[in-house]
Amino acid sequence: MGDTLQIKKQAKKYDVVIVGSGAGGGMSAYVLANAGLKVCLLEAGPDYDPATNSSQMKNPWESPRRGASTKFRPFGDFDGCYWGWEIDGEPYTHAPGTKWEWWRARMVGGRTNHWGRISLRFGPKDFKRKSIDGLGDDWPIGYEDVKPYYDKIDQLIGVFGSNEGLPNDPDGIFLPAPKPRLHELYIKKAAISGGVPVIPSRLSILTKQINKERGACFYCAQCGRSCKVYADFSSSSVLIKPAVATGNVDLITNAMAREVLTNKEGKATGISYVNKEDMQEYQVEGKVVILAASACESARLMLNSKSEQHPNGISNSSNVVGKYLHDSTGAAMGGVLPKLVGRKRYNEDGVGGMHVYSPWWLDNKKLDFPRGYHIEYWGGMSQPSYGFGFDMESQNGMFPINGKTKEAGGYGASLKEDVRYLFGAGVGMAGRGESIAVETNFCEIDPSVVDKYGIPVLRFNTKNSDYEIKQAKHMKETFREIMHNMGAVITWGDTDGPENDYGLANPGNIIHEAGTIRMGNDPKKSALNKWSQAHDCKNLFNVDGGQFVSQADKNITWTILALSMRTSEYIIDQLKKNNL
C-alpha cells in the first residue's frame, strides 16, 4: 500500500446498496435481487458459508479449549458467530454509571449464524402498547400490516410450532414440532400445575424438508454452530446464497461502512467504506441505500453521516436517532432434578434449542409492572464441553449418590461416580421480557474516541428502570415455583434480590438491540415512516432492529425479516414509479 490515502470510486452504479448481511440485509438482498434489481451488499466481516465453515458435529476434544469461550467466540469455541462483546480495534464506550453490553457479529449472515432460532410473531397488542398501558409509543402499523409477511416468511424459511389460537401469540404456518424431551415433560407438568402454559416452541428449524436447496434437521442440537445442511435459518445460507446465485448481487466482504454519502439535495447517493483487506477507502453508489448493520451500528452510521443538508446526522432532524435503545429483559435460574439422576442413557439431543416454551400468560392489570415475558427452558443430557463437571463440591454433597450421602468435594473413583450419577439431571429456565423504550436510554457518538479505521465510535447511556427490575423479580418468583413444583433442587439463580436487581441482565446482554431509528407518523418524534423509509431522506431505509418502536416479549428476528420483506417490496414498487 502506498502512503497516500486515495478514495476509490466504483464505476458500477447499483440500484440498491445494502449495509449488513444479517436477517434484515439478507432478506432485502434476497427480495430485491429476485426482482431483478442490481444490489451491492456490504459486509464488515469475512465470507461465511455454514456448509464449509461450521463447527457442527465436532467433538469437544477437537477444540484445544474444549469448547470454552474466547473473545472471538464468547458463546464457545464451536459457536457459529465471529466476534461478540469485544472486537479488536473497534471499541465502544459508556457514560459514567451506565451499562450496555454490545454484541457485534462480523461475518456474512451476521449473528443469524448462531442465534436461538426462536421465531415469534408479534401479536396485535404488541404494536399498540401505548394505547393499552400509556407507556412508550404505538407503532404506525399494526399486526394486520405485517401478517401477510409473517405468512410468507413462515413458508419461505420454515418454522415449526403449533397453532394454539392465543390472542397475542398469533398462529402461523408451522411445520410439526418435535416431541418434548424428558426434562421438558417434567417442566410442562410442573409449570401447568402452577398456571403457567407450556406449548411447543416456535423455532426456524426444518423438521421436514421444504426445498431442494436445504436439508431436514438431523437432531444434533447444534444450531448455535450454524447448520451444514442449511436445516435451520441463517441469513448466510438461506438468503444470501440464493440472492448471490441470481447474479444480481455483488457481495463485498470485509467492508466497514464509514458513512452514507449524500448529494446537494440531501439524497443518499451511496456508501463510503474501508476495505479491511487493503485498508483503502472506497465509495459505492446506488439509487437507494438500505441500512441493516444492526440497530446500533446503523444509528452510528447515520449519526456519523453529517452534511450541510443533514447537520445532525442523516435524517435526524427529529434528533431521535440513537434514542429509545432497548433490549429484552432477562433473568434465569437452574438446578438439579433428582428424578433424573442415574438416568438411562439415550440420544436426546433434539433440535438446537428447547422443544417447549411458555408464552406470556398474565394480565398486567393485576401486576406491579407493565408488559410481559416468555420462558425458555433447557436441561438433560447434552454434549459435555468446558465447564462440565465444574463445582462438584457444591453439588455432590446435596444429594445421596446411589443411595449414599457423601462429604461435599472429594476425588478419585468416588468423584467419577458422582459425575456419572448427576449427568443429564440439570434443568434451567430463563425469562425474556419486554422493556420499555425510553428517550433517556440511548447511544450517541463519543466526542473523542475513534476505532482503528478512524470512525467515531458509540458511547452508550442506558439503564434498567423499575419496570424491568419488577419484571425480573416476578420471573424469579415464577421460576422458583416451577422448580418447586417439579421437585428440583435450585443450585443457582436463587440468591438474587433488590441488591442486584433480582438478577436482571445488563441492558444489551440479551442481544436484542432495537429502537434507535424508530418509525412513526410524526417526523418530529421518529426517524422513519411506516415503510421504514427515512422521513428526511426518501431513498434511505432501515431494515434491522433500529426501526422498532417497541419489541414485545418476542425475539425480534422474525419481525425484522417480515418488515425487511415488506420494505423491500415497497422499494421495488417505488422505484418502478420513479418515486425514490
Binding site: P46, N254, E277, Y346, P384, G409, V419
Partner: protein
C-alpha cells in the same frame, strides 16, 4: 473468497506486517500439516488461527509443575472399572493449554502448586512429587473437602477446587470421558420422543395431541 489470500492481504500495510505475515505463513503451513493429522481448521477465522498457533507454541508450566499436575490429576480422576485416568486422557496437556488461553488461571495454579509444595516440604521434608502415595493422600484429604477443611487449609481448598474443576472438565470432554459419562448424541438421527421404556419408568406419557401433531419419523 480464498480465505488464506484474505489473511495476507489483510495484513499488508499494517505496521507490524512483516512479523504477522511470518507467523501467519507458519500457521498456514502448520495448518496444512495439521490437517493431515485430522486437525480441521476450516471453521476458524484468521485471527483465531494466529491466536491458537501462538498458544500452542508457548510453554507455561515447568517440568516439575507438570509432574505435580499429572500426579494430582490421576488422584482426582484415577483409572477405574469404567474408564482410564486423567493422564491417559491427556488432561495435563489440556491444563497446560487452558491456563495459557485463560490467563486468570495462571496465578492460582502456579501459586497453588507452590503452596502444595511448601506443605509437602514442611510436613514430610520433601517435594510433593517425591513423597509417598500415602503421604500425598494425607495432604489431599485436608484440602479436598471444603466444608470440613481447617481454616489454615482454605488456600489449599481453593487450589484443589480449581484443580478438580480443570481435571474433571478436561477428562469428561476427552474421548474417553465422553464415553465414560455415556453421552450418546452428536450423531445424525431422527427424534421420535422419549423412548417408551423411559416414559414408563418415569410414569409420564405424551398427550394425544402431541402424538398426533408432533413430528413422527416412525415408519411402522
Amino acid at each position: 473468497m480464498d480465505r488464506r489470500k484474505s489473511i495476507k492481504t489483510l495484513l499488508v500495510g499494517t505496521a507490524v506486517a512483516s512479523v504477522l505475515i511470518e507467523s501467519c505463513d507458519t500457521s498456514v503451513k502448520n495448518n496444512s500439516a495439521a490437517s493431515s493429522k485430522g486437525l480441521n481448521e476450516e471453521d476458524r477465522m484468521a485471527e483465531e488461527k494466529i491466536t491458537n498457533k501462538k498458544l500452542r507454541d508457548e510453554i507455561f508450566f515447568t517440568p516439575t509443575e507438570m509432574a505435580t499436575i499429572t500426579i494430582l490429576g490421576d488422584i482426582i480422576i484415577p483409572k477405574d472399572a469404567v474408564s482410564g485416568s486423567a493422564s491417559e486422557a491427556k488432561v495435563p496437556e489440556f491444563i497446560e493449554f487452558i491456563v495459557k488461553d485463560m490467563p486468570e488461571h495462571q496465578t492460582p495454579m502456579r501459586g497453588g502448586l507452590r503452596w502444595l509444595e511448601m506443605i509437602s516440604l514442611k510436613k514430610f521434608g520433601n517435594s510433593f512429587t517425591a513423597i509417598t502415595e500415602k503421604q500425598r493422600i494425607e495432604i489431599i484429604d485436608e484440602i479436598a473437602y471444603p466444608k470440613k477443611a481447617k481454616a489454615s487449609m482454605k488456600q489449599g481448598v481453593a487450589f484443589f477446587n480449581l484443580m478438580r474443576n480443570l481435571t474433571t472438565t478436561g477428562f469428561y470432554t476427552s474421548e474417553m470421558g465422553v464415553k465414560d459419562v455415556g453421552y450418546m448424541g452428536n450423531v445424525p438421527n431422527q427424534w421420535n420422543g422419549v423412548p417408551d421404556d423411559v416414559l414408563k419408568e418415569h410414569n409420564l406419557a405424551y398427550t394425544e395431541r402431541e402424538l398426533k401433531e408432533c413430528v413422527n419419523y416412525d415408519t411402522k
